[in-house]
Amino acid sequence: MGRRKERIDRGVKVRSDGIYALNSYREVLYLAVPRLIPVVGLLVICPLFSDYWKEVIVSTAVYALLAVSWELLYMGGLISLGQSLFYGVGAYMAGALNAYLGLPPVLSIPIATVGGGLLCALMLLPVLRLRGIYFAMVTLVLPLLLARFVEATRILGGTEGLTGIDSFSSQWVAFYLVMVALLVAFYGFRRLEGSDYGLVIKGINDNDRAIMSSGINIHWYKTQILFLAGAVGAFAGAYGAHYDMFAGIPGFALDYSILPIAAAAVGGMGSFAGPLLGAFILVPLSEILRALGALRIVFYGLFLVFAVVGLPEGLFHFVRRKYEQIERWVEVDKK
């Protein structure tokens, strides 16, 4: 006699799936609660933390924006190893607008968001026809190349970067700005994913020739998601520049590229909630581990390894399965 795990959709999931025929508060709550967790968590619970932790949360949100932007590209089959390109471009653009032209954050951030998205899409346009690892390699190289370019030509403050950038008028403005931006990007992308437009994007990942012979210009669609992902990343950079009052070469650092991917791997790829969750685990965890001093990075690395090996599907998909399904062991006859 062997045994296998049987998974059955919970009744409340079956009833509330697809066609919404809800007939009790319990079913309404079943659907609404998970969808409201990010809103309540980010806008209500996060502000309750101490000032120190609020700073950690702000930097978490910046990484989460990059992770959500990474996931959008992943959905369209574009693997980005260079989210720092978006961050760096956004940071320098907002920084330059503020330092050279004196534009306040109210103007510099929106301009850097749109401009940064356009610039990133333009820079990646020539390699858009590449797929998989080839596209990934170019995205990895571009930010490193730009960092060396700034260093060598000494434009935009050279190695010292742009300092003395205006900060936000208050800590609360800064805090809620990034939280609202994260929620807009998160729910906006989720909405996009569910639309016919999102279906085409996923189709490009699945089978680009089939989409082409459906009369859809896949290069134009890829350009559009590059712009969207770039704009969200550039917002993170522009925000970061004003928050840190600094824009410089560290903006192109590998941290901004690797952490979003690690967040997606830990949280679960294939949904926008996964990378968001992943970012909110990894960044605070790295702060907590500071107490360990020099061993910090060892434990951090071990956690990553255990998370990816233990839950290869990602934490979000694991939790979601537990939420939606009943599991039980059943006896099976072994032939």
Partner: protein, 257 residues
């Protein structure tokens, strides 16, 4: 006779030293079905790839309704009205069957012709799937393409074409891998499309079914068009018999198998 919808003139393509397609010309009129037959490797699929823009020909021209579409990208060629199925099926495996039609219904061509909103497209997709033989009230249209039998996926390809409201449909070995029953139920769908004045090119190895539908056949061998005409005329052509069988003394029944 009405003017030709699609004109292919002297199209050639070499892959290294191999001549895949060698100076092929033919014309296709609205409401006409042309069958293309020939041994494996005779350049049939390469010709389709040239017409639909996946391969750029070395020489020759493809003209559709007076517009030179030679070497244009595939999405442009679909956009002007030429839809195709793939011999190696290309469904979107992640998605349910009916969602596989959404990209086609969302394409600029269809939105230009009929418009359509988000929810409407699902309903239209279901109608088209029913047309190509998916049981509407069953779970089949909702099943993930990954879990569908091959015959359904073939018809899903046909549905994807129909969704585009094309003027020319190119069916690349649609019947291969289908059961006899599936072929029998698909033939009337193709005849109905022809009656709606859609021009159809069928590449087929299932000759008996093909000859039921069309009386205009092109025969390919080594990239060249070696014969054109009615099935009887073509099958009695000595060059065709040699291409298919390597000898002359075999009856038509065996060819058809």
């Amino acid at each position: 006779m009405s003017a030709a919808l699609l004109t292919v003139t002297g199209v050639s393509k070499h892959f290294g030293g191999v001549v895949a397609v060698d100076g092929v010309s033919f014309e296709l009129k609205a409401g006409e079905i042309i069958g293309i037959i020939g041994p494996n490797g005779s350049g049939k699929t390469t010709l389709v790839n040239i017409i639909t823009g996946f391969i750029r020909p070395d020489r020759g021209k493809v003209v559709f309704k007076g517009e030179d579409i030679t070497g244009k990208p595939p999405y442009h060629i679909t956009d002007v009205g030429i839809a195709r199925t793939f011999q190696m099926i290309r469904p979107l495996y992640q998605l349910p069957a009916y969602k596989n039609l959404i990209p086609s219904l969302f394409s600029p061509r269809v939105r230009r012709l009929v418009g359509g909103k988000y929810g409407d497209r699902d309903a239209v997709a279901m109608d088209i799937l029913e047309e190509v033989g998916f049981e509407r009230d069953s779970s089949v249209p909702y099943k993930s393409a990954r879990n569908l039998p091959h015959g359904y996926l073939k018809r899903l390809e046909l549905g994807r074409c129909i969704a585009l409201r094309p003027e020319v449909i190119i069916l690349d070995e649609l019947f291969s891998g289908m059961s006899i029953a599936e072929v029998t139920s698909t033939v009337p769908i193709i005849e109905k499309l022809r009656d709606e004045d859609i021009a159809i090119i069928m590449i087929e190895h299932r000759l008996r079914e093909l000859f039921q539908i069309t009386d205009h056949v092109l025969v390919f061998n080594f990239g060249r068009k070696i014969a054109e005409g009615t099935p009887e005329a073509v099958m009695n052509d000595p060059e065709v018999r040699e291409a298919y069988l390597g000898s002359e003394d075999v009856g038509e029944e065996e060819i058809a198998c």
